[in-house]
Symmetry: C2
Subunit: 403 residues, 2 copies
């Protein structure tokens, strides 16, 4: 089985520093054996955590040796001291790697508005440093170290041939609540949070890597929503060790971009699947929209409607909620043109309700994956957005979780 | 006690036509003894119900004799036949009043995508016509006839002196789910739904009435959200009988506008209070924003965050969710400038968490009304938005309600 450390040149370590109340690891290190070509996208929330401020600076040169991350505390809304703490995390990691502190990208996720317990964090980073290795078990422990309200670890890997050799693209992520990422290359950052870290052994220029990451993030992390609450800490970063074949031709760049998109979409899907209280993934497919912005806007409006999400929880083919959500977001939409299918059954077409077997469609909604397919018939643009249903369990998780 | 029929010149009637499964009235008539000066604002959803199409035409001349309304079926997404049905409702009402069908405004609320049961509706309108009267009991039955998932009837009345006489402004409304109205004078319309009907005995020009209604709606109905799902059927309409003093001077117009705003805000507050599954009203006060749009955008982003709404349900002073919601909507916002108070306790200021007694603040949140006061300190604009908490009961209502 391929994993985060399958691309040549990477090691990871994790430790339980005691930030989270559970005994699972809460500090992680992901290290490249050489200065890696690197790119990252961050939250566009105007309230962004200290590690985002620092991360934006450190990614500027397009080179990184590693990533240091803690869960259980977001280091957000923590003022100057938060920035000092994030820098200290970098320094502690850099000491282990033997590199400059600016070659480390810091990340945090967890509660907003608390200062990091730096003693615990430093000890955790040291322990993670002693734990470094490139086995599947090491990858798994790193995956675990970044989780907060997540129920499951999340990873994805793909590879493709470049000449005689293979290029591997791997990724891990966390995210279950406060999920409505809007990542931007020059973006700003907010608590749970989406974090994704990717590794590859491709040899690739930083500018190309940045563009491909931004495109892949747009079609994946920026297209998943649990609560549409863009976090203070959202981050997606990739490190390329360069130990593998070069990605420099039109063809290899296209293959690499496709691999990146595949891995990021697989991770985004897993976030929806593990959304707080989720029992299913709802995949919104909007086709025939006038513009791409319209397609995305309509898909997001449907995905974020609590009425639609509750109907999905109850396996209720309540298509009126879906069609009305499509109309409310300001995008061009004409119900007289549109057709809506739920799990391939046409339920609304050309302004009129279709006859359908409600019991049968309801049964088809009782599935781990529901496809909502809306054809606007106004143009050629399309968008896919992944969300989950809204359950009583979601409320329990978020009403009873106390600061 | 003043009520909807206290302004001189109005009668109402209601009947149980059997559209709703409960035995409560589901058809209502509100009639003016003379051609009333009238104004209405409708949903801006691009998917709008048949009665909205008809209502927009009938309001054009600024004169109406009455309003006919049914609950239990929204007559939305029902194509041409829906429009014919809405016109037939007008015709049946007009026959009772003895006026033209274009002098009647039709309204519907309930499930989307079903044709109206016209036999039942016609019989219901006839019965409501036989029930017409101007007593408090008549007002109450009309209030009840417009409800769907609402738990309570909603009404508000105020009056002010104009010379030796009084001008009364009264209103009733319904709304509990699918509440995120964006009413526009030239708007378009979507299921539950916000419906509000106002009466006054003022003598006022149609153009002035239209402007004052639009302004009052903006500061009231357009500032309440339960699920941010703008409905296909949202409507607010006012009828002015002219039996009272004239509103034609600068001073009387200002007094009338203030009275309208007071009644509409009282109704909007009651919608939040009766939001599906709500245990409390959360009043978001944004001050010091750069522009009015920014103030509204920030207040709405906070009001619509499921994380904020769940925290409120759990009496959790989780201010990180509020501050991060303020930053995610694109409005100008700088956490280093801002101050956030929960029930008058400062919890976040100038980029840093404040020390506060979490148990005490949590206790203060256990209230029928919670004030979230965010001062952006970037300008002079402000906005108020009312919402409710998100409870397990909300999910039960909306997951188990079947089409």
């Amino acid at each position: 089985m391929l994993h985060l450390l399958s691309p040549r040149g990477f090691k990871a370590g994790a430790a339980h520093a005691g930030i989270k109340t559970t005994p699972s690891p809460d500090v992680g290190l992901l290290i490249c054996d050489v200065p890696a070509t690197a790119a990252a996208v961050f939250t566009t929330n105007k309230v962004f955590a200290a590690p985002i401020t620092i991360g934006r600076e450190h990614i500027r040169g397009g080179k990184l040796r590693g990533i240091v991350v803690n869960s259980g505390n977001a280091n957000a809304c923590t003022g100057r001291r938060g920035e000092t703490d994030a820098m200290q995390m970098c320094r502690a990691a850099a000491r282990i790697v033997g590199c400059g502190e600016r070659e480390i990208l810091p990340s945090s996720t967890g509660i907003i508005g608390r200062h990091l317990p730096m003693e615990k964090i430093r000890r955790g980073i040291d322990l993670a440093g002693k734990d470094l290795g490139d086995s599947a078990a090491h990858a798994r422990r790193f995956e675990q170290a970044i989780l907060t309200t997540d129920m499951r670890r999340k990873s994805a890997v793909t590879r493709f041939r470049a000449g005689k050799n293979w290029i591997t693209v791997a990724g891990v992520c966390k995210g279950s609540g406060m999920i409505g990422p809007r990542l931007g290359v020059n973006g700003a950052t907010p608590h749970a949070t989406m974090l994704a870290y990717l590794t590859t052994d491709a040899k690739i220029a930083a500018g190309v890597l940045r563009r491909i990451l931004a495109e892949a993030a747009e079609a994946s992390f920026n297209a998943v929503t649990v609560d549409d609450h863009t976090s203070t800490n959202d981050t997606a970063a990739i490190l390329a060790s360069g130990f593998g074949p070069a990605v420099d031709s039109r063809q290899s760049i296209a293959l690499f971009a496709a691999a990146m998109k595949e891995v990021c979409q697989s991770l985004a899907y897993k976030i929806a699947e593990d959304g707080e209280g989720a029992t299913k993934v709802v995949q919104i497919e909007v086709r025939g929209a006038k513009t791409e912005n319209d397609a995305r806007g309509i898909a997001r409006a449907i995905a974020n409607s609590p009425l639609v999400k509750c109907a999905m929880n109850g396996n209720d083919p309540n298509w009126g909620r879906i069609v009305s959500a499509a109309g409310l977001c300001g995008a061009a939409f004409d119900p007289d043109q549109a057709e809506l299918k739920l799990q391939q059954t046409s339920v609304f077409k050309s302004g009129r309700p279709m006859r359908f077997d409600a019991a049968r469609v309801s049964k088809s909604l009782d599935s781990k994956r529901v496809i909502v397919d809306l054809n606007c018939r106004l143009g050629k643009s399309s968008a896919t957005v992944w969300t989950c249903d809204l359950s009583r369990e979601y409320v329990t998780i978020n009403a009873d979780y106390h600061t």
